[in-house]
Every structure is written in structure tokens, then in C-alpha cells.
């Protein structure tokens, strides 16, 4: 009887150990499997497999470009970016979408794995949708919103100045402080816009392929400039909100 209990105890310990190992391996491999469903390896002569792989690659990039185009349109309709800014982004998105369509047409007609693999390679090396286009155009859209907002805040300055000048003496000091802070924040934001705009011409597929590290540095500098603008605009918007609340409480 004692022997039986010992056997059962050993068995349950081994079972628990095995279950733990199975769980650990599951958690370790599941994210990788989910993140790279397209990492399948095709047989050397399996052209259909390579085409399917490439089509999936292209579809993912088309979806990302369509989502970006929808975002651009939504912001244009809200007048949070100008028509010219939206047109420029739509033109770039369309050019890249057309590039993907051209590669897909060629890929789908391939009869050799070697040619199909070259088409897949071209998706990466010629278009760089995820490495260059989406990061660049998403930042461009963000900067466009920033520029539109900064212009709006700048245009408001004369109204705010008038409101401050005409206001009662007891809260004039507070309004003046807020207005000065507002003007400084808008000016800071505008000074960073030029820095950010100067970086965009460097964010090309050719530059990425030539020097990935330099490209990443440019992207980082652009993000820093946009972040500063973002912070300044938040500050100015907060000042404006406080001014509006003070004027409302007449």
C-alpha cells in the first residue's frame, strides 16, 4: 500500500514537472509563432508557396497603407489638416500602393521559385512599406496636424490680445500671464517645425538601403522635434482653455 502511494506521488510529481515544461515552452514559442505566421519555409520548387507568402506580405502592406489613407481622409474632413497636406500624403500612399500592385501582378504570374523569391525581395527592398513609408508618412501626418494647429493658435493671438486688453483689471494680470505663456509656446512650436520639415527629404528607401543607421538617426531626430512641438501645442492649448474659462466667468 505504501509502495502504491509512493508510486502515485512520484507519478504526480513527474506529471506536474512535465506540465510546467509544456507550459513554459508554449509561452516561449506562441508569441514568435503568432508574430511571424509568414515565416514559412517553402520547398525549393514550390512556386505556389512562395507566391502565397508574397501575396500575404503584400496584403499586409496594402492594409496598412489603406488604414493610413483612411486616417488622412478623416483628419482632412475634420479640417485638422489642409487639403494640400492631405493630397500630398494620398499621392505618396497611392504611389506605394501602385508599386505593391505591380509587384503582385508580376509575382502571381511567376512560374519559377527563383523569380517569385526575387519579387518577394523587391517588396522589401524597393518599397520598404513598413520600414520607411509607414513610419515616415505617419510622422508627416502628425506634423501636418501640428502645423495646422500651430497656425490656428497663431491666428488667435490678436483676438486673445484684444480680450486681454479689454478685460477688467482684477484678472488682467492672470490673463496676461497665460497669454504670454501661450505666445511663447506657439513660437517654440513653430521654431521646431522647420527642423522637422528639413528631415523628411532624407527619409527615403534609397537612404534606408544605403545606411540603415543614419536613417534611424534621422527618424529619431524627427520624432524628437515632433515631440517638442506636440508638448508646446499641448501647453498653448491648455493656456487657451484657461483664458477661455476666465473670459466665460464674467
Amino acid at each position: 500500500m505504501t509502495k502504491l502511494f509512493t508510486t502515485i506521488r512520484h507519478f504526480s510529481q513527474r506529471f506536474a514537472l512535465l506540465a510546467a515544461l509544456a507550459l513554459i515552452s508554449l509561452f516561449a514559442t506562441a508569441p514568435a509563432a503568432m508574430a511571424a505566421p509568414s515565416a514559412q519555409k517553402c520547398a525549393p520548387t514550390d512556386v505556389k508557396c512562395v507566391i502565397a507568402f508574397g501575396d500575404k506580405l503584400i496584403a499586409d502592406r496594402q492594409t496598412a497603407l489603406d488604414k493610413l489613407a483612411d486616417n488622412v481622409t478623416a483628419l482632412q474632413q475634420k479640417h485638422h489638416i489642409s487639403d494640400a497636406q492631405a493630397d500630398a500624403l494620398h499621392t505618396d500612399i497611392k504611389a506605394n500602393r501602385d508599386g505593391l500592385t505591380d509587384i503582385k501582378t508580376k509575382l502571381d504570374a511567376e512560374t519559377s521559385t527563383q523569380a517569385a523569391r526575387q519579387d518577394v525581395k523587391n517588396v522589401y527592398e524597393q518599397l520598404r512599406i513598413f520600414a520607411v513609408v509607414i513610419p515616415r508618412d505617419t510622422r508627416h501626418l502628425h506634423l501636418d496636424v501640428e502645423v495646422t494647429l500651430a497656425d490656428k493658435l497663431r491666428d488667435l493671438e490678436q483676438h486673445l490680445q484684444q480680450a486681454v486688453n479689454n478685460d477688467k483689471d482684477d484678472r488682467k494680470a492672470k490673463l496676461t500671464d497665460l497669454f504670454n505663456d501661450y505666445k511663447a509656446a506657439v513660437a517654440d512650436a513653430e521654431s521646431q517645425v522647420d527642423t522637422a520639415q528639413a528631415i523628411f527629404p532624407m527619409l527615403t528607401v534609397a537612404n534606408f538601403n544605403a545606411n540603415h543607421t543614419a536613417f534611424d538617426a534621422d527618424l529619431h531626430n524627427l520624432s524628437s522635434a515632433e515631440q517638442k512641438i506636440h508638448t508646446d501645442l499641448h501647453k498653448a492649448a491648455s493656456d487657451l482653455h484657461q483664458i477661455a474659462q476666465l473670459l466665460k466667468s464674467k
Binding site: K41, G54, L156, H159, L219
Partner: protein, 97 residues
């Protein structure tokens, strides 16, 4: 000769009287016209004050509307900022089949 000079005197007298009446009439009209004018000035002064007040109200309303608009645009700014954060270049890793 007497007849002629008497007629001339009468003519001059009538002319002078007419001129006097005419000038009095013009003066009276001018005064009448100037009275409504000063009244108009007074009402114009009131209008100017109310116009200034309306202008201030309009300015304040414009600022309130602009504030709402800007707050909405700040939301778009935050959304596009999040999109930037999620647009890393690591996904284009060049895997081949």
C-alpha cells in the same frame, strides 16, 4: 425821374425784404436740421458703446469656439502621436519563404 427813382427804391426794399425772409428761412431750416443731427450724435454715441460691447462679446465667443475647436484638434494630435509610436520599422524584417 422821380417816378423812376421811387420804383427803384421800392424794388430794392422788396429785394432786401425777400433776402431777409430767405435768410431767416434758411437759418431756421439749418437749426431744425442741426437739432436732429445732435440727437443723432447722441444716439450714435450710445450705438458706439453698444457696438464696442457687442464686439467684445463677439471676441469672447470666438475665443470660446476656438477653444472647443483646438481641444478637438488636440485629440487628433494625440491619436496621430500614438500612431507614430506604433509605426516602428521592426516589422519589415526581410523574412524570405
Amino acid at each position: 425821374m422821380n417816378w423812376i427813382s421811387r420804383t427803384r427804391r421800392w424794388s430794392i426794399l422788396v429785394l432786401v425784404t425777400l433776402l431777409l425772409v430767405l435768410s431767416l428761412t434758411v437759418a431756421a431750416c439749418g437749426q431744425a436740421a442741426s437739432q436732429p443731427s445732435s440727437s443723432n450724435n447722441s444716439s450714435s454715441g450710445n450705438y458706439s458703446t453698444s457696438q464696442q460691447s457687442t464686439s467684445q462679446d463677439d471676441n469672447s465667443t470666438q475665443i470660446q469656439n476656438a477653444d472647443q475647436d483646438v481641444q478637438s484638434q488636440i485629440q487628433s494630435l494625440d491619436k496621430t502621436q500614438n500612431d507614430v509610436m506604433n509605426s516602428g520599422s521592426t516589422q519589415d524584417n526581410g523574412q524570405m519563404p
